[in-house]
Symmetry: D2
Subunit: 380 residues, 4 copies
């Protein structure tokens, strides 16, 4: 597990709201996160064999039976050069059933099939007497560091990520689906953050978890400071501030937003849209070939698979008080900080063909922050 | 008021569900409908002057203050060659505030402005201390019969339509916004119908009201019978079954769907989509230049303008019982029958340049229905 | 191969336009269709083992390299209780790369993974130096007849469907992905049809291919005739015209629409929307749990994977002549006839637990058509 | 006309690309901008009478007949608490006909009606023999400073804005539709900017024009510097960094993006989405009651009203070279700078009830920029 600091450990405070206890998506009650990390081999790429720098991450949407109790949810497309399986069904029915999985691009189908196995093993009637499950698998591409052709995330890795998921602190950086990812041309991966809504507005929590794999170094902005431009030459490769050729390699970002505020499908669309603001604040231009998706859900608005009532009574947030504004701010802030955490927590990784993804350098970043007037920023 | 029969008066029963008391959108409790019908002059078109064959129709979404209590709603676009004002806001906020107005294409702005006047006169604080109102105005084009350049629907006509609205039986045919409309190359206009959901599923009502102004005669289908093809030469103009040139004149249809079933925005989208099935069953191919929109709302899911609670408890239909299927069927059936009612109730009209829009001939239609095995159909 | 007649063999002519040579999607130049049909075992369901009544169908979007030359395309959701993989990418980029696959619901992931294998075997650089491929897999559920838990469509079946695809006549009925499907409570499956646009409008072709698996028997309408109601008791099971409980089992329909008319993404959306009209004309109410999707593409509007020009010149249809209306009509007619062909061509099948899906009875249907005034309909 | 400096006059360079000659939307060939500014009265609000601080702005999409030659376009909704008239038609047909108008919220209908007058006066056949025009009117609310109930933008103001439109430098700040607007709790209004694409990528231009009326002061960020937080107490009113009550007043932003790059409807959607990034970079959280819309169009992709060809040949940008990335960056940069220009160019305004909207203070802002390491920023 990475010993590197998180964003707040450096005195960088994103936004105005307070994080939850773990400053993680798991601050939303019931949510659990698990990773399978696969790192094997080194040196020259042998397609289909290795080196392997990949994995998958599982998010439990609540602590119960996720098939029988589906959470209200949406998918928001910022730039759709990528896949979130069963997105059309989410839009029609407004729910997600089962864990949310994030992995690499080539492994989507195998992970989805393994999620079906996981459900089938727990439900004898599925397919024989009842509907099946619609797995939710999102992805970004780790082809820069990983033998992506090998589709190395296997059934057992999926089961492990789901079954080992737990609440509390979330492992960040080069773990799970984020193992082989790069972000702003530094090492990226998994990051998470959360925000608390004041008690007088309901005391809800908003959490974000990202698998970051996007952006040009020149664009990276930390709390408004152009850190990327200042670090253009870091790591030995001279770069230009605006190198169009690099943007062809623009990759992807998956943002998962969770809240226990009782939001409808339409309201979750509104929340999810604000993750775009959070990404833009880190410098993103939402690149042409980037699969930028936001999956948002409410843990407390559930739909029951076998409900035989015709009408139910549900809680729903009102959009005429301050609560909705706080929820929006919370999404922006948690998304922005989750991306930064994915950078700060990731250690340098050497992948296929000895390609190096440098970790964002802590000391240099602290110095740059100070240079730009953020004098409270400090080494951990 | 037209003495012509409605669809059911001829023994034509569309679908399986039973209509409400009035077989009209007003069967949904609280809904009121009002018309302003403007028929003046005859003979050659003098653009900006006449002849006038136009009007507007107002639908009250409930019996209370429609600004302070907004109904949950959606707009569904089948073919968007037309306008529904404030459609984007409906999608964002999921509500409609104020009456739904239907008029002619050129009059949309003036009707919308008059709706603002109507609201401003009732609310001193609007614009000074509070938000304004977002008028909902839909349209179809009566340029075939009417001096549409004249924009003859004035403030007083809008006020009259709103203020004279009432529940109970709804006037159909060449009235209100439907005054100058044509449908399947017969005289069309306003039509309405409703369906009751069985008591054991909640006893809800679904109502539809259309302003019909679309379709080629050759396409017209009544309960599956190709009435249009059989009547191609009716009225003295020989027609061909497939005359592409005619489709350039394809116009529009506005369908308003109302229900007291407590549906969310997402669920209303699902209901609204089924109006497309109802239209297709009358023969529509959803023509290229047709503005085909469905506005759907739930009278019992309301949002309060000044709500200071952060969370409310609302009723919502469940989508795992038979109720949702019945609601879908009700939308299909009520839409289909509303279109047919707009045809059966409309009398022949002579408009600008002595253009004639023939009424659908009752006796001939009855004979055709019998010829195609519908032996229970009879003259009124 | 089924010896049963197609719709036109019975003298039933849907619409006004003429079909192409094969009255099949393969009338669009370059398109090929292949099936893998898997029928094994009988008797009681042993979940994961059998009996097996399933398969997959592959559609080549053109005769060249489908990865390097992507066809302009869209996906239209009528009712999204189902999956079309990579739908979000289609909306963002407006293209499909590789064959379109249709299979059963539980097999989507395995088929998608096999499609990747198929591409990877043909492209060494994929994933190592270039982007991967985004497989397009659609589905309907054959759980009524098939051991769907078994996910019996394996890699070799996918390869066979793709590699054996050919132009000319298309096998219909209980083949390929349609093997275990039922439609309007008769045996359904694969059906196809096409329409020619007149030469003076460009002579284009529109083809449709469906995998039909939807609808209640009472709803089935053939050319306006309520065949389903007349056959309610056919096959020994008494049914009621409106049985809500049956609609819980409403399943799905995949419509693939192809044309060589050079349509943009936006224009294909407009075409795809009209497939809804075609489905409604066969009686569909677009059931609650039905995954009703339309995939539409233009074979002549292609995007090249490695294009290094900044701007290209492309052909595009104009929307102010009769061409667009003819294209719309062609979509409606070909979709309607493709569904009917899937019914007429399917033979009775006995599946898991000795469940029987009766073929639509030809003689009885002919009699009903005559009873409803369609005197030209005849036995084959 | 405001003598205040534009963003670049202060040495603040947003992004990496170079602006066009005027650093304005008019750098896109053929585009013209006109304003009507209405400032009358002072003191206490007399609803319906004054004081008046409002107007309208007209954008010519090209220099020819905008009805006969429609430009390819889209509307992108970031937050839909507002109106863009005829948005659904833009989505269906992919074009805008006539000038784009921006005004105040209550005046939308009157401005739309006046736009119809303007067209009708130029086209005798409209409505008599041809379709009408679908006016495009967007809005933000100036109720804070203006007697918005009065709907003071009259026919002659609309005509003047359209008829006086010209190319070259664009007047910014408290002019036209922006007259009474506020942005980040400073005086806002009209702002514009442009970016040039390098010659080797085609030499295209992207221009943005905004009517800014959104945001909390605490959120304002200029080139990454938290200027708003540093100026919380400027103007005599103490503010808190996070005051939820203020966000209830969140208002709106209209962004118009124009380019001469030949983009399709789908491609313009992709461009328009990036305006969101530009807004976020100025600090926006896309407030709950903000009508945040992007209208994007391509001046060189036109549709002809009376085209009788069935197929045309059009130019279209390719999405596999650097061009698309540059276009995205250009949208982000031009949008961000247009918002800042609207702030820098606006002078302090006193409106209804003696409410004061302070201009963003130049000297203080320069000092803050320097404090945060932007040492090249200077007084004008």
């Amino acid at each position: 597990m990475s010993n590197r600091p998180r964003t707040r450990d450096l005195g960088i405070k994103i936004g105005n709201l307070e994080p939850g206890k773990w400053n993680a998506i798991t601050d939303v009650p019931g949510i659990r996160v698990g990773h399978s990390t696969i790192i094997e081999g080194k040196g020259k790429l042998v397609p289909g064999t290795g080196p392997i720098r990949t994995g998958c991450t599982a998010i439990w949407t609540h602590g119960g039976d996720m098939y029988l109790e589906k959470v209200t949810s949406t998918v928001h497309r910022i730039n759709g050069f990528g896949e979130v399986t069963n997105a059309e069904q989410i839009h029609e029915m407004g729910f997600i059933e089962g864990p949310i999985m994030i992995t690499n691009t080539f492994n989507v189908a195998r992970v989805a099939d393994a999620v079906m196995d996981w459900h089938l093993a727990r439900n004898d009637r599925m397919g024989a007497e009842t509907w099946g499950v619609s797995p939710i698998v999102a992805e970004t591409s780790d082809a820069y560091l990983n033998d992506i052709r090998g589709r190395h995330v296997a059934r057992e890795h999926v089961f492990h990520a789901i079954d080992s998921a737990r609440d509390g602190a979330v492992e960040e950086g080069a773990v799970g689906g984020g193992t082989g990812m790069t972000c702003y041309e530094f090492k990226g991966g998994i990051g998470t953050s959360s925000r608390k809504i004041p008690e007088n507005l309901g005391g809800y929590t908003v959490g974000a978890l990202v698998q970051s794999n996007f952006g040009l170094r020149s664009q990276l902005m930390i709390d408004g400071v152009p850190v990327g431009k200042e670090l253009l030459d870091y790591g030995g490769r001279a770069r230009r501030a605006s190198d169009p050729a690099r943007d062809k390699q623009s990759k992807s970002i998956i943002v998962v937003v969770a809240t226990d505020a009782p939001c409808s499908y339409r309201q979750l669309n509104r929340l999810a849209t604000r993750a775009h603001n959070g990404l833009a604040r880190t410098g993103s231009h939402s690149g042409n070939t980037s699969g930028d998706f936001v999956i948002a859900f409410s843990t407390t608005r559930r739909k029951y698979a076998n409900n035989d009532k015709h009408v139910v009574t549900v809680e729903q947030i009102v959009e005429t008080t301050d609560l909705i504004s706080y929820l929006f701010w919370a999404v922006v802030e948690a998304t922005e900080e989750a991306v930064l955490n994915s950078l700060f927590k990731s250690e340098t990784m050497i992948g296929r063909d000895d390609r190096v993804a440098h970790a964002l350098p802590i000391e240099e970043t602290v110095e740059i922050m100070k240079k730009y007037g953020h004098h409270g920023v400090h080494n951990p």
